[in-house]
C-alpha cells in the first residue's frame, strides 16, 4: 500500500509507495485520492473505500495524512500509526509545522523509514526511533563538517 501527505490546497508534501507502479499511474492515483479526500467534510468518518483498498486519512492542522491499507488490516490501528508518525515528527523537529516538513522533506522521509519498512511498523517505541534518527544525523554532521573544512 502507500502513504501520502498533502496540504489543504492539494500540494503533495510526501509520498511513499510500497508497491510498484508506473509513474503516470502514481500521478493519476494521487490526483484522484486528493480529490476524494478534500471533498469530504468534517462530519464524515476517516475511512473511504477505494478500489480494493481502504483509505485512512486524518487532518492535522493544514496537512492531510493518508494511508492506504488492505482489506484485512485494522483501520483503527492505522489511525494510531498515523498519529504515532506525527508524534515522531513532533519530537524530532520540536513542535512540527508544515513548513518544517516542506523544508526538511528528506528528514521526514528518514523518520518515516525508521518507523515503517515495507508497509509494516518496525519500531513501537518513540524514544528508540527518534534516537536512531539523531544518531544517523550525527554521522552526517561529522562528515559535513569534514566537508566544509577548506581546501584539504
Amino acid at each position: 500500500h502507500f502513504i501520502l501527505l498533502f496540504s489543504r490546497q492539494g500540494k503533495l508534501r510526501l509520498q511513499k509507495w510500497y508497491t510498484t507502479l508506473p509513474d503516470k499511474e502514481k500521478k493519476k492515483i494521487i490526483r484522484e485520492i486528493v480529490q476524494i479526500i478534500l471533498s469530504r467534510n468534517q462530519k464524515t468518518s476517516s475511512f473511504v473505500d477505494w478500489k480494493d483498498l481502504k483509505l485512512v486519512y486524518k487532518r492535522y492542522a493544514s496537512l492531510y495524512f493518508c494511508c492506504a491499507i488492505e482489506d484485512q488490516d485494522n483501520e483503527l490501528l492505522t489511525l494510531e500509526v498515523v498519529h504515532r508518525y506525527v508524534e515522531l515528527l513532533d519530537k524530532y523537529f520540536g513542535n512540527v509545522c508544515e513548513l518544517d516538513i516542506i523544508f526538511n522533506f528528506e528528514k521526514a522521509y528518514f523518520i518515516l523509514d525508521e518507523f515503517i519498512i515495507g508497509g509494516e511498523v518496525q519500531e513501537t517505541s518513540k524514544k528508540t526511533a527518534v534516537k536512531a534518527m539523531e544518531d544517523s544525523d550525527m554521522l552526517q554532521e561529522t562528515v559535513e563538517e569534514y566537508m566544509n573544512k577548506p581546501a584539504f
Binding site: 503533495l12 508534501r13 510526501l14 509520498q15 511513499k16 509507495w17 510500497y18 510498484t20 507502479l21 508506473p22 500521478k27 462530519k43 464524515t44 468518518s45 476517516s46 475511512f47 473511504v48 473505500d49 485494522n74 483501520e75 483503527l76 490501528l77 489511525l79 494510531e80 500509526v81 504515532r84 516542506i102 523544508f103 522533506f105 528528506e106 522521509y109 528518514f110 523509514d113 519498512i117 515495507g118 509494516e120 511498523v121 518496525q122 519500531e123 513501537t124 517505541s125 518513540k126 524514544k127 528508540t128 536512531a132 544518531d135 544517523s136 554521522l139 552526517q140 562528515v143 559535513e144 566537508m147
Partner: protein, 820 residues
Amino acid sequence: MPAPIRLRELIRTIRTARTQAEEREMIQKECAAIRSSFREEDNTYRCRNVAKLLYMHMLGYPAHFGQLECLKLIASQKFTDKRIGYLGAMLLLDERQDVHLLMTNCIKNDLNHSTQYVQGLALCTLGCMGSSEMCRDLAGEVEKLLKTSNSYLRKKAALCAVHVIRKVPELMEMFLPATKNLLNEKNHGVLHTSVVLLTEMCERSPDMLAHFRKVSLVPQLVRILKNLIMSGYSPEHDVSGISDPFLQVRILRLLRILGRNDDDSSEAMNDILAQVATNTETSKNVGNAILYETVLTIMDIKSESGLRVLAINILGRFLLNNDKNIRYVALTSLLKTVQTDHNAVQRHRSTIVDCLKDLDVSIKRRAMELSFALVNGNNVRGMMKELLYFLDSCEPEFKADCASGIFLAAEKYAPSKRWHIDTIMRVLTTAGSYVRDDAVPNLIQLITNSVEMHAYTVQRLYKAILGDYSQQPLVQVASWCIGEYGDLLVSGQCEEEEPIQVTEDEVLDILESILISNMSASVTRGYALTAIMKLSTRFTCTVNRIKKVVSIYGSSIDVELQQRAVEYNALFKKYDHMRPALLERMPVMEKVTTNGPTEIVQANGETEPAVLETKPPPSGLQPASQANDLLDLLGGSDITPVIPTAPTSKPASAGGELLDLLGDLNLTGSPVCAPAFQIAQPPFLLDGLTSQPLFNDVAAGIPSITAYNKNGLKIDFTFERSNTNPSVTVITIQASNSTELDMTDFVFQAAVPKTFQLQLLSPSSSVIPAFNSGTITQVIKVLNPQKQQLRMRIKLTYNHKGSAMQDLAEVNNFPPQSWQ
C-alpha cells in the same frame, strides 16, 4: 562553475514563484544546472543536487536523469551521500527499471558494513523496493542479519524478510530456523517485527501454520500478551495508558490465524481474549482499536459461545458510539458475522436502521447491506418502510443496488400479494429510472402470477403513469399490464381499491403519448405498440383507432417498431381470424429461478388455482407429485424427473417464436406451455409469420420405432430434429389399441438419464379407442446437449376391461439419427 545552490535555498526560491509558469521556469533553469553538474562528475555536490532533484520530483517534474546519480551516491563512502542515494533509489527507481539491478552489489556490501546505520539503510531500501532478483541474491545476507544480537538490525532484517517472502515465496523455508528465537527477545521492536514475520509465514503456507501450531507458539504469544496487559506503566511504548497497542493488535491478529479452524489453539486463547475484551479501556481510539481486533479474532476462531456473545455486544456498543469511525468499523464487522450469528445481530437491528440516516456515505452503504441481510419474515414490513424511505433520499449511486435489494427481499418475504405489488409500485415510482433492466421481466412475471391482483395492479399502474411517463422501467411494466389487462381497467372491476372510471380512448391516449414521447426508449415504444395491439382484442369500440395507430408505425424509422407494426397489420388484414387466439391472455408463467414460491403451468387463459411448490428443484425442472412416484418406482439416481402437463382438450404446439412475437420478455426459461389455440398444423402458422422452418421434415428420414407393444397396446415413436437447436429431438408418440375394449384414463410418463432433459406436452386425449380406430398422440421434447445415446424408461397406466393396468418398460432401440 559556481557552487550549486543549497537545497533550502532552492525550496525557498521556488515557493516564491507566484504562478505555475514562473515555477516551471525556475525548475527548468535549475534542472539544466544540475544536469551539467552531473555531466561534470562533480563528487562534492552530487548529494546536494540529487536532493534538489528529489524535491522537484515531489512537485511533479520528471527526474529520471538522476537515477544513475543515485547509484553513484550509494556507492560512495560518505554517509550523507548514502542516505540521499538510498532515498533517491526508493523514490525514483523501482523494479521496472533495469538500473536497479546495479544496486544489488552496493546493497550487498552495505549489508556487511561496520556501521549499523548503513546496514539499516540497506535493509530498509531492500525491504521497500527490492525486486525478486535482488531478493533472491540477498536473502542469505538478510537471514544472517536476522540472527544477530543487534536489535536495531534484527527488527529491520525481519521486515526485510517479510518483503522477500512476499516477492519470492519459495524462500520462506530459509528463514524458518531463525524464527525460533525471535520471540524470546525483550525488545518490543524486534517482537513486533517478528510477529509480523510469523504472520506472513502462516498466512502464506499451511505447512508453516501447522508447524507453528505444533511448536506451541500460541502459549508463547499468550504469555507475551498477558505481560503487556498486566505489567506496569512503560512510558516508552505507551499510548494513552495502554502499553504498546501496536504489538497487542499484531499478536491478536496472529492468534486469529493460528486459531482459525483449530480447536486446541482456540481453547488456549479463550481466556486471554476474554481478558483483553473486558479490561481494555474504551475511552480512546487506541482501546477501541484493540477491542476491534479482539472482536475480529473471537469471531474467526472456534471460540465458545459466551465469548461470541461478548464480542457482538462490544460491536453493539460500538454502534452507539458517537465517533463515526467506530460506527463504521462496527458495521463492517457485523456484516461479516451476520451469516453465522444472525440472532445476535438482529438485536441491534434498530440501531443499524438508524445508521441509514447518517450523513456519511460509507456508513450508509454498510448499513444498507446489513439491513438487507437482516430482513426476515417477521420484520419485513417495518424494514421495508425504512428501506423505501432510504431509497427516496439516498444518493443516486445507491439507488440501483437498493432497488434490487428491495425486490429480492420483497420476493422472499412478502406477507401478501397486495403488499408485494404495492412495494414494487413504490420502488418503481421513486427510483424508477435506476431499476435494473432485468428487473422488468421479473416484475411482469410476478404480476402475471398474482392472478387476483390483476385489476388492482393495472389500475395503480395506470394512475402512476398518467402523470409522468419518463421512468422507463415503470412505463414498460405499466404498458405491458395495460395491454394484458386493459379490459379489467376499463370495466372498473377493482375490489381492493376505489375503482376509477377509464374509457378505452383514455387508455389509448396514454399509450399513444408514450409512443410519441421523446423520452421513451426504443424498448419502451416496443412495449407500448404491442400493448396497443393486444387491446384490439380486449377493447370493443376502438378497434379502428388501434388499426390506424398500428398502420402509422408501419413506416417508422425504428426498425423494430416497423417490423412489429407491419406484422400486426398483416394480422389485421390476412389473419384476422387468428387474432383473438393469438392475442389471448398470457398464461401464468413458470418460474425457472429457484427463489420463492413457484407455480405449475396451466394451459388456458382461465387459470385454475395452481399448486404451490416451495422446494427448490435440483435441476431447474419442477417435480410434480407424479414424477416423484416415478422416481420411487424406478429407483436409481440417474433418472431426471419429468413434467407431465395437465391434459387439456386442445393440442398444444411448440410455437416458441410465436411467444417472442407477443412480448419482448426475456423469460429466463422456455415456457412449458405455449398459449393454446386452434390451429390446423404448426407449419402453416410459422410459414405465415416467419420464413424459417422450425423443424426438419419428418420425411427427411429418421425412422420411427415401436417403443412398446404389449397386451394390445402399441406405442410408436416418430422423430423430428430441430433446425435451430441441434440438441433437441422431438418425439411424437402414437398410442393405439388393438383390443376390443377402449383403454381409458391413459397416462404416459417417461424418464431419461441425468444428462438429458425431458419435456412432455399435453396428450391429445386420455382414451384410446378400441380396434385401432383412433390414437392418442403426445409430443415429447428431449434435450440432449451431450449427444449421448438416448435411453428412456416409460410408465403406462390405464384402465382396461374394468381394471387398472400399469406397466414399465425401457426403450433402447432409438435410431442413431435421433440423438447424434
